[in-house]
Symmetry: C2
């Protein structure tokens, strides 16, 4: 997972819990696959397996949307696809702008999963004048100067930020000023936005770090007993702690300046 929603503590939107909303796309994907194979109905058990969740959870999730199942039979695939799509707002067309057409931006522009779900890439925007006009994924890259006009002309409300971290907040501010109210942020920075603007963050290196944590734990368990090479520094008393802190800078008990400069 990448990380989550930024503000909006857990605003249960219209009674549908956030956790459920986050799973709806999962169900939708599984259902779409079934639909393509012309499967007419599916039980909560089967669908749950396909979506990788627990069947009780799935049933409870669906219960927030309404009573769309038939007891003794299951759920009608086509009907459920429609209901979930409508609930997620995918029955309408969402124009999207992608800002920052580096490797990642280009990958996003080429990503097929967008178009098939009601998202349309309205424009690709980059600050580099050399990029302007160059076609990426069939669209000419536009210069940042045009950002505001592109957004208002196309009625765009969703923006994707794929710039370097340094430029992200500035781009974000311009997007918001231009009327964007939902942002998907790939830059490794915390964006600050005014009330009413939703930000979701996807951070590639964070995901890897979380994996590393568990990986280290597995390796540690396997080898010794305790976690990792752990008991070395379990929880020091105050003075020892302070000493270690000092040591990490230079001291006699020299223990490495710690970690990367970057």
């Amino acid at each position: 997972m990448a990380t989550g929603r930024t503000h909006r503590p857990a605003t249960r939107s219209r009674g549908i819990p956030e956790a459920t909303v986050a799973r709806l796309p999962l169900y939708l994907r599984a259902l779409t696959a079934l639909s393509e194979r012309s499967v007419p109905t599916v039980s909560s058990e089967e669908l749950a397996t396909a979506a990788g969740v627990n069947s009780a959870k799935l049933r409870k999730d669906f219960s927030y949307l309404g009573s769309y199942g038939t007891r003794g039979v299951g759920y009608d695939v086509e009907y459920l696809v429609y209901q979930i799509s409508r609930e997620l707002g995918l029955t309408q067309d969402w124009p999207v702008v992608i800002v920052g057409i580096g490797n990642l931006g280009a990958a996003l522009a080429n990503y097929g999963g967008f178009a098939s779900r009601g998202f349309r890439v309205a424009a690709l925007i980059d600050a580099d004048p050399a990029m302007a006009g160059k076609p990426v994924a069939g669209l000419p890259v536009r210069h940042t100067d045009e950002l505001e006009s592109i957004i208002s002309d196309n009625g765009v409300s969703i923006g994707v930020i794929a710039t370097p971290a340094g430029a992200a907040q500035q781009v974000c501010d311009r997007l918001v000023a231009a009327g964007i109210t939902s942002i998907l942020n790939f830059a490794p920075t915390v964006l600050s936005v005014p009330e009413g603007v939703d930000v979701r963050k996807v951070d590639l290196s964070i995901e890897l770090q979380i994996l590393a944590f568990h990986e280290q734990r597995k390796a540690g368990e396997e080898a010794g007993q305790g976690p990792a090479a752990a008991p070395a520094q379990p929880r020091q008393g105050t003075q020892a702690r302070t000493a270690a802190a000092a040591a990490s800078r230079k001291g006699p008990e020299g223990d490495v300046p710690a970690v990367m400069p970057a």
Copy 2:
């Protein structure tokens, strides 16, 4: 957020809650920035703001690691960077393989955030023979045939899957068989893995769908009263529902195995 951990319900690893582990990289990033500016100490309040979280949460998170602060003063930046890095396992080198060198795979290979956090791209692997040998991000792309040998020769335990959905499970199986125990999956599929293997999933289109949901809600509130253009199909009576369901298919009871063959 992209979506989260797959199995392991909430295994509180060594007493550190999952939710806390997921935030540690966030703190680490903020601390690293402070470190670069040679800020010696930071209060929980300041750091929390920089990381985009609540200060009480941050203090509680740190309390799981130990008592690393000084009352009345705050936290020593360098020392904390070291402690968090160690906890996350970033003081060691993690070789990583990326499978599937399309747009996304290439973007990942070029992503600087990995190298600076202890992750080293050991190899780029693709099934297309035409890609073999072609340099991407300074590394020659290797063919899938070499997958097993690359992993064992380099002692790789973390794999990144950036293939199309159709190939993901197959690649996953080979990675696991070759000894990989942590997988970061970018393919839009539910991977099934044996016990002991961690999978984290990043799904670009799911993030957008969640944004669309909130966006729709905002638009709906603004315009009318109720949610979106909703009342159109609010919750039909049973017979109407069944009729719609029947219309969408054909046979009386045509069944089909349901769920995927794989």
